[in-house]
Symmetry: C2
Subunit: 619 residues, 2 copies
């Protein structure tokens, strides 16, 4: 034979792929495989080209390939990647499915077929299929090697060869550790011998292990392998004398939930585990953790420590429950209640503070004061009459109601001013934008008759021309990483005059004002009732009028503020006068507004018209 | 002179209007006026053409017209309508302002000018300007006539002539009534005499009036003229003996607020008015009205009746305040509290019911039961320890917590099933829609090169072809009456398979499920804490897992459910391959979705990620 020329090895890839696809479609796996191997084409294509066909014809595949080495080659080259999409895309849509665990599917299918046909012959391939799985099944593979040793096969691969092959596929130490994990010392020794490890290293350890009680032995191995959950389970079977060791393991590895599952809820172990968990939670000094620690301590019969936990996270109901359970002397209970109330007042939870003060500190005056502070007029009045302290009405309640009136009036006024300012500025900004967009599109409007123009128009749209000032650049739209989005949002929200998204920022601000003011319905009704009850008629009248006017202003402004986004020049878009450019322009106008980030600002806030707040008795 | 031919009177309107505009711009009011009068062109145009110019040159206008009749003609022809927009639109944008009260502005401006120039000469025009105002100033006009009679002018119009002219402009009876309203009997007689009314009719009435005390006289006149507010004010000055008459007037005309303003808040009249108002409110038997009635009765020193009002509208705090104020005997107070608690329980306001039962009915057992029923576990536990009734924990609380667990688990499961069903159906519906839209636009896609095609495409879009099945017809979009919208919404929300807006309905339903399930965070955390406290660890574990999984499922589904609406095929719209039709198609796809009505369904519901509900102690 003549020596081959270089030219012969040059192939046009598209032609090769077409040929490969034909072979694969025709189930000519052998031809395809040989060709791919020669031309170094990724073997995944055999499966990816049409997964269903491959899986349905695995036996044909095995028969045609008929080489342990080649099957192993195929198995080792498997990747999750779909090569019809990445390396070898084809014009016609590929038939590939979307299974997540492609490698696992092929390994399992091939192994199943090989075990049916001839498990002795395919012995090494079967081992490969275990090792190649997403989570390598090393223990099963080792078990199979062990079986070979115990029952040497009449023909085919010996245990020794199999083990050698495994060691070729997998790191020695990893294999040794996994052999330990089977708790089968025969297997361990077999691997250890082949591993060229020093017997002086592993034999003492193995002997020590052998001397241990079965469960403790397994615990020791699990711990050595850092399989703490398994270790915990084995240790829990070792009896009471090992419980403190277990507790340490649980604390170190934070396995409280797992540990609690191993003991009945009434048992001493369960109790000690709960307490240990609570102690660890309390170290974190966070509100949520503290309350949960309190619950654990409480249920473990440690009310005093539970109280401490509840008190420090202001879980006042639980704190008071525990305190009364202990039971605490009245004067200490009162002190506790005052402490809780103080924190509740700081958190503006006035009614709860009042409850603590009324029932546990037995101080109705302070309780009423808390309610007055929290504008809970009706509740304050209820306590005033309950404790027959009508004097407080004149000294505290009425002045507070008057103060609340002037505060609310002032607040409404300031919100109104801000609202009007933003609204006016919004229409100015919109006018500027409209002008800018007219200037931009006005130029090429007359001569647009050809659809080709679109590509020009669109390149203008995405270009820096417009993006520079009034629209976000497209690159920012398409980059979806949340970090970038947050950055863009930060910029978007600038209310500074002339900022690129000032209109969006204004709409957001307007929406916020509406939501805040609309949210005052209940509060204001309560205040109005108090004003009426105390015969402050002019005050109630002015407040009702102010609030009603402001709500009305907002409601009537909504269509104006949020109109553009809903029907942006609808008539001009599909009308008979519309041109390619006008459509592009209108679409563009809509686009930067309707993008993912800004949708919120584009939806008018919903006002809660169903909440009737007005008093009919005031005009 | 020769008789004129018909032809001469035919003018081309556009030419005439152009000429008129030139004249008006040149301040040639006379020429314009003559021409308009001859050709019956609406005189409003004189002002509408350029309001600012007209108002700045009123004296020129008056000088040029220089005819009382013509000025009156101009005044009487004034309308709010802007004729440059309605009857005589011009190509160039009109300079007209947007004042709401155009007629008032012109009347006031002309009158002011005429009074400065020569009030005697323009007397009738001045009267016209009063009568023509939006709210005719008949009394001022009458007053001016009266002045003419008292001080007859040296020259010009006499009182008699002026009155005759007024009667020509205004209905006799109206003028007579308004003359009464001036409380000036001279004026009344003058009008009455000119009115050809029968003196036997009006003289006895006038004489009767003259015999009355001044305030009561005015009240009688105001009442006769149905000016009840004024009548009320005059009657209130008539002293105590007329108060019952006042009370009747107030009740009949529902002038409570106005009446209360007339009396100091401590006075007996104020009290009686408040009570009367309350009585009327109570007749309506509506919750809100009843509470307000209660407030009025309470402040009027009628606690018993106030209690009745508060009790019947379940205003429990006020009811208990009033009851303790009365004061009510303990056994009756307990009954009242039980009654209030029962109604509160019906309204699912368990904590408030518990408060009534605990403090007023002194029944801690019932109070705890109410809290347990309302799943207020912590609060129930607080009362249990406060009243040392730990037995209830085993008998009621623990079983209730277990029940709550199974109810919530069942609910979560059902919501999950519904969510998955809707979500799957949504993707089916979308596929169907996508196919339908491909079929529709696929046909004419190849041969679209001309912008003219748009009109065709748009007519297809708006036509019945597509509208019949999957899009709403355009007529429905444009009809904005709220009634129609509500109708459309009703249809839109049909979840029936194949309904035209099934996708929107599904999105709405999915959004609702997410909102409901997401809203359970706090409630579920409370339940989890109770489960932990009572050592129901397996239950807490399963519930936490179920809820966590469901939240996760929803969160991960949001991008899929709401993706299409956010970036609907963005790349294909402005890319180089896009055609007029593809843009129209993509626009169309977006349009029915992005219309006003459906925006809500298009916004993914916000999940409250900030609300941490999970307990760390459960895994």
């Amino acid at each position: 034979q003549m020596p081959r020329g270089n030219l012969e090895t040059i192939h046009h890839r598209a032609l090769v792929l077409t040929q490969l696809r034909k072979w694969l479609d025709g189930l000519k796996f052998k031809d395809a495989f040989e060709c791919m191997r020669k031309l170094r084409i990724n073997l995944n294509l055999i499966y990816d080209h049409n997964p269903t066909v491959f899986l349905n014809n695995i036996e044909t595949f095995l028969k045609q390939i008929d080489s342990i080495n080649h099957i192993n080659l195929f198995l080792t080259e498997l990747k999750e990647e779909d090569t019809t999409k990445t390396m070898y895309p084809s014009a016609s849509p590929s038939v590939s499915g979307k299974e997540k665990k492609k490698v696992d599917i092929i390994c399992d299918a091939l192994r199943s077929a090989m075990e049916t046909i001839d498990s002795q012959k395919y012995c090494l391939c079967i081992l490969t299929s275990h090792v190649r799985k997403t989570t390598p099944e090393l223990e099963i593979a080792l078990q199979k090697v062990h079986e070979l040793r115990v029952n040497p096969p009449s023909s085919g691969v010996s245990a020794e060869e199999a083990l050698k092959y495994l060691l070729f596929l997998v790191n020695v130490n990893e294999l040794y550790e996994h052999s330990l994990g089977t708790y089968d010392f025969d297997l361990v020794l077999m691997v250890a011998e082949k591993s060229q490890k020093d017997p002086k290293e592993y034999l003492p350890f193995l002997n020590m292990l052998k001397s241990l009680e079965a469960n403790y032995q397994r615990f020791t191995i699990d711990k050595h392998l850092r399989r703490y959950c398994k270790a915990l389970r084995h240790l829990s079977k070792c009896g009471e004398e090992h419980f403190s060791e277990l507790l340490n393991l649980v604390k170190d590895q934070k396995l409280f939930s797992d540990a609690l599952e191993l003991y009945p809820s009434g048992s001493e172990q369960y109790r000690r585990l709960s307490v240990a968990h609570a102690e660890q939670l309390m170290e974190q000094q966070q509100m949520e953790q503290l309350e949960q620690a309190g619950l654990l301590l409480w249920r473990s019969g440690e009310p005093a420590r539970a109280l401490q936990a509840f008190q420090s996270c202001n879980s006042w109901r639980n704190a008071l429950s525990v305190a009364t359970q202990i039971p605490m002397p009245a004067d200490q209970l009162a002190l506790l209640a005052r402490d809780l109330a103080e924190k509740l007042l700081e958190a503006r939870r006035h009614s709860e503070a009042a409850l603590c003060l009324e029932h546990y500190a037995k101080d109705c005056e302070e309780a009423i004061s808390a309610l007055v502070q929290g504008a809970a007029w009706e509740e304050a009045l209820r306590l005033i009459y309950l404790y027959n302290r009508q004097d407080i009405i004149e000294t505290n309640l009425k002045p507070a109601v008057k103060d609340a009136h002037s505060n609310q009036s002032f607040f409404l006024e300031s919100q109104k001013a801000l609202f009007v300012r933003h609204k006016n500025r919004l229409s100015v900004v919109r006018e500027i934008k409209a002008k800018a967009s007219l200037e931009l599109f006005g130029e090429d409007a007359p001569d647009c008759v050809d659809a080709e123009l679109f590509s020009e128009a669109s390149s203008v749209l995405t270009g820096s021309h417009l993006g520079s000032k009034y629209s976000r650049s497209n690159s920012r739209i398409s980059s979806r990483s949340s970090k970038n989005r947050r950055k863009a949002e930060g910029k978007k929200h600038s209310l500074k005059e002339g900022s690129p998204f000032e209109d969006i920022a204004l709409m957001n601000a307007l929406s916020q004002i509406i939501i805040v003011v609309d949210g005052m319905r209940e509060e204001l009704q309560c205040l109005l009732k108090a004003l009426v009850l105390f015969q402050f008629d002019p005050l109630s009248r002015s407040l009702q009028t102010d609030y009603s006017d402001l709500l009305h202003l907002m409601e009537s402004s909504i269509p104006e503020i949020w109109s553009e986004t809903q029907q942006p020049g609808q008539s001009s878009i599909t009308g008979p006068n519309s041109t390619a450019n006008s459509i592009a322009a209108s679409f563009h106008q809509q686009k930067p507004v309707a993008s993912q980030q800004d949708t919120e600002a584009l939806i008018p806030p919903k006002m809660r018209h169903t909440i009737k707040w007005k008093l009919d008795i005031i005009k």
